[in-house]
Amino acid sequence: MSDPISTMKSATITPKQGKRGTVLLVSGALDKALLAFEVAAGFQAMGMEMSMWFVLYGANCLRKPQSLYSPAKWFSPLRGGIGRTTATDHPLQYLVKGLNPSGADHLPLSQLNFGGIGPWIIRKIMRRKGMAQLEALIFGARDLGVRFTICQICVDAMAFSLPDDLIVEAEVKGVSAYYREVMDADYNATL
């Protein structure tokens, strides 16, 4: 079986029909993130211009992988970045940053998580079946031309340092930009 992503070429999809869609990911669960990326990447491949928005725990899947047990995850200083206001940072943000899973590899399931065994089982089945893992879908969606946007207040509250903390490029915008995209779009989903 060939590697699904490496066989893709680097050109991005330019939509032919001028249709647009948005997917808003709120949940940090593996099952919902998988669904969001499958819909976004699939729709983009069908010719729709897709835009993905990440708020709250939804942004966890875009973070660089970091183990829950690594000291850097808990103790590295809060850094500035796009959309951050470091002057109003609070020490409890270390806790928020540490407790939120870092990376698509570490997301729990919304149901039947069994303390981390559930995602391992799902991943094993998906690998066996030749299905795309979440990381592959994220990079596949990016390569197809899906745009990623993160909510500014979530970036600030959860102390993400953009662009260093993310595995893909993402814009930082607010609700007014989301309103404009949603009103222009033919398809809107919230997960």
Partner: protein, 79 residues
């Protein structure tokens, strides 16, 4: 049959939506009128490709199924 196509793509062994994503990538790099031979064994492969062609103005020229239930489809890229 395979020798007639300008480009070929093998998506055997991967599931929805990966065949669609890969075909869309390749189709984007081809010129209108060129042909693409796609082979896959996903249960939804043929219907996926028919939907993709219908929505993106491509034409299906031929469909053939071999003994190992992999489907080979020749499409012509539309304008």
């Amino acid at each position: 049959m395979a020798s007639q196509a300008d480009s070929q793509l093998d998506v055997t062994g991967v599931c929805c939506p990966l065949p669609l994503m890969q075909i869309a990538k390749i189709a984007q790099t081809l010129q209108p009128g060129e042909t693409l031979q796609v082979t896959g064994n996903d249960p939804l492969f043929e219907s996926t490709l028919r939907d993709f062609c219908a929505c993106n103005h491509h034409t299906i020229l031929s469909v053939s199924t071999d003994a190992k239930s992999s489907v080979s489809i020749l499409i012509r890229i539309g304008a």
